[in-house]
Subunit: 480 residues, 2 copies
């Protein structure tokens, strides 16, 4: 047998010596973030970045001192990341992280609880359940609500639509998880607006229905689902013998931030017996603001809701949730295993594997709870409202400018615009140049076949002066 | 507009002041792990844990000081976790974390790169690709290999089988992601041993084929797939007009650690035109040891391989990968989006969203690289070999004992046993008592309908003396 003592320092121990070692290493890791300032990103090319990274031998025969390793990664990697806290990082729903969440990652990883079974996460399981109840209450769900943490909005949407598929099958007496899609499934359709996130199509693909099973519902000028078009679509499907098994309402589309009218959609879902899933990955945080909550009216009528903490809750990746109005719906998913979730445990032991598409799963709920408790509701709401105000400000500045034209009104925290007299190639050139030069990480997308640029405001420290500056830089590049 | 300065301290900034603040908070977080020692877990009941956790108001109107929040979580949560570094924590494939990985979580979360698009993770994308190439080389794949990080073994298996499904469909001219499962899919079968992880069945369920589409192949006395039985199964399927679209070989089953004969299985897969997926979540780390690598012979013949860093690579959750022998196979999956992965970027920009079932995704590759580079290959291999030796030692001690009987020979790092003259209820009582009392987190499972107990050795600091002590404690409880 080996002498194990040589390995002791490698592992996180919670005795005094172990914690002192961990604290020291944590300090070195923080120090490795101290890199020459580069704006939103450095200007290295993919080839240059590759050369720097490939110079690191991932696993040499003998280990390298940890301080050296962390410093090397600092120089090769952290110096050349994208900085979401930079005011010129405005391309994506890519937030800067809050300190309570980041330092909680240390405790999450040290403790390394796994959320699949109670005997790998006893207290952690209770924290996740507590957070899910908190979300259920904020959403306005009945006491029957609960949920589960997922790895992202895409995974949450997939889980919601997996439940919807099982629900539809159960109504015709089929256990789809056991026997697969029945013949009747050829008639099943998911409805979502033409601005819905592409994860809805991916979910349909994954579930065996195919992307063609997603029926795209037209949107109005704001990018929100057109309810008259929804009614027409439902009628059309009915005439064709097709079954709307789920309707996805989006609360905050990816580009325009548009919020579908959930109340009206909920009525239709009820009328046709469809599962209502609300993808609130973007605007779900509005449940935390009295002023903004009313924009989500009807959210409480959903069967399942996607909440994405790594967007407007300022959590580092990954942290998301699927919340269901009735916890019993998870029974649709449940697969017992011989070694987990046996169903013969002591009173009160919950094995969350029964709710999840994952097995081993990190304790992301801890960082969310630490962050919300540190921020408090008033500060959280104020930061969120500031970002909405910033997007409105950007829209008014664009309206007042000769260089730009709004593509749609602002709904949430993004602002999509183009430039009169410029074509898609011009916009692409500007966006790629700004990215390559490390000047701005600007969004670029296509709305109704119209090429456009996009600001997404995720950083509450940004101000209206910063917006003016961003517009001025883009205008300058467009000219030339 | 709001005065944003009040919020500055909430966000991770990389200037001198921001880093000092982060380092201080990291120290407080580490300190919150300093809790009264409790062995593998505290003895609080689920109800007691719940009361402690529910006493925390998740989001009070005004925020609470961060130090206080971290201390509260320490007392309510971290004090009552399961401690994977405790030698009596032997139930699951649940590893203690290494320091380089844990402190890398700080940098991962601070930098908050998102792996879906290059413009959210420029250097990070290169690191993930470098790590995937390293894995491909170690596996013995050709230079065409690459891969992608996933959230866990379950997700890796799902991704591998998603590719297999698309591959099977493409051979009959069907784009299954677009048009859904064709009629012919009713004949599609996944083959896996009766000891394969339940995520294979879950993948089939998710993909619309249903768990019934997984054909269970009998195993030999070690728990490895019986190749004669595989041949018989393939012949039977052929006679029934059923199509083996994928064969899953397991390299390290969940309970017995058994390794299926990948070389022999690869021959059959080639003969019948099936995709070969190897679930090497458990024993994949053997690619790092000269002594153990030979047990994986044939791994290099797979189409896709699951590697699970949060098992025998001692990474905190989540960190896994799917490696494919030919990167072009990811084209089977690719869905372009308007705002990511447009295909018109500058030379060398890779958007990893095209390989993943996720969209936003954390930069877990960083912690794996930091850990491997710090440990070095020799130390890594020595720790792994020690765990295998420990399982062999446990088996010999069980063989020599009158209290216990081995259920199967040891293959990897687990040891499954029962007690002569005791029934399933006795074993359940002992396992639940030890868990409830906080004395031992012991595994319990069922092998071929035979109830059993299980040790899983994940902690390289454990010794043969510790194994003797564990057996003595279990024997005492069984008598008592």
């Amino acid at each position: 047998m080996s002498d194990v003592s040589a390995w002791r320092e490698l592992f996180v121990a919670t005795d005094a010596r172990g914690l002192a070692h961990l604290a020291h290493a944590a300090g070195v890791a923080v120090g490795s973030l101290d890199q020459p300032s580069h704006g939103p990103r450095s200007s290295l090319t993919p080839a240059q970045l590759r050369a720097g990274v490939r110079a690191l031998d991932i696993c040499p025969p003998d280990g390298v001192d940890l301080n050296t390793v962390l410093d090397e990664l600092g120089a090769a990697v952290w110096a050349h990341g994208v900085h979401p806290l930079d005011v010129a990082c405005v391309a994506h729903l890519h937030p800067p992280s809050v300190v309570p969440a980041v330092v909680s990652e240390l405790t999450i990883a040290s403790s390394n609880q796994s959320m699949d079974s109670w005997d790998q996460s006893p207290a952690a399981t209770e924290v996740e359940l507590h957070l899910m109840d908190f979300l259920g209450t904020r959403i306005g769900f009945p006491a029957s609500a609960s949920g589960v943490m997922t790895s992202g909005g895409t995974a949450s949407n997939l889980l919601g639509l997996t439940l919807a598929r099982s629900w539809a099958a159960s109504k015709i007496g089929v256990d789809v998880l056991t026997s697969g899609l029945p013949e009747h499934a050829r008639t099943w359709r998911f409805l979502a607006s033409n601005q819905a996130h592409f994860s809805v199509q991916r979910a349909a693909a994954q579930l065996g229905l195919g992307r063609d099973a997603v029926v795209s519902v037209p949107t109005d000028d704001t990018g929100a689902m057109d309810i008259v078009a929804l009614d027409a679509t439902l009628e059309l499907l009915n005439g064709q013998g097709l079954v709307p098994v789920a309707i996805v309402a989006t609360a905050g589309t990816t580009d325009l931030g548009a919020i579908d009218p959930a109340s009206l959609i909920a009525q239709r879902a009820r009328d046709v017996g469809a599962w209502l899933h609300v993808d609130a990955a973007v605007a779900g945080a509005f449940i935390m603001s009295e002023r903004l909550r009313e924009r989500l009216v009807g959210l409480e009528l959903a069967d399942s809701v996607t909440i994405d903490f790594h967007k407007l809750w300022w959590q580092p990746f990954n942290a998301s949730a699927l919340v269901v109005r009735d916890v019993e719906r998870f029974d649709l998913l449940r697969v017992r295993s011989h070694y987990l979730d046996r169903g013969d445990e002591l009173e009160g032991m919950v094995n969350l594997v029964g709710r999840s598409l994952d097995t081993s799963r990190r304790f992301d709920a801890a960082k969310v709870v630490a962050s919300l408790r540190t921020m408090g509701q008033r500060t959280f709401a104020a930061m969120l409202e500031h970002l909405v105000d910033l997007a409105v400000y950007a829209a008014s500045a664009i309206d007042a400018s000769d260089d730009f034209e709004l593509v749609a009104p602002v709904s949430t925290v993004s602002c999509v615009f183009d430039a009169p007299g410029r074509d898609a190639d011009d916009l692409r050139r500007v966006q790629q140049e700004l990215l390559a030069d490390g000047v701005m990480v600007l969004g670029r997308t296509t709305i109704n076949k119209r090429a456009a640029l996009k600001f997404t405001f995720m950083n509450p420290l940004a101000t209206s002066d910063d917006v003016d500056e961003l517009l001025s830089v883009v205008a300058g590049r467009l000219r030339g």
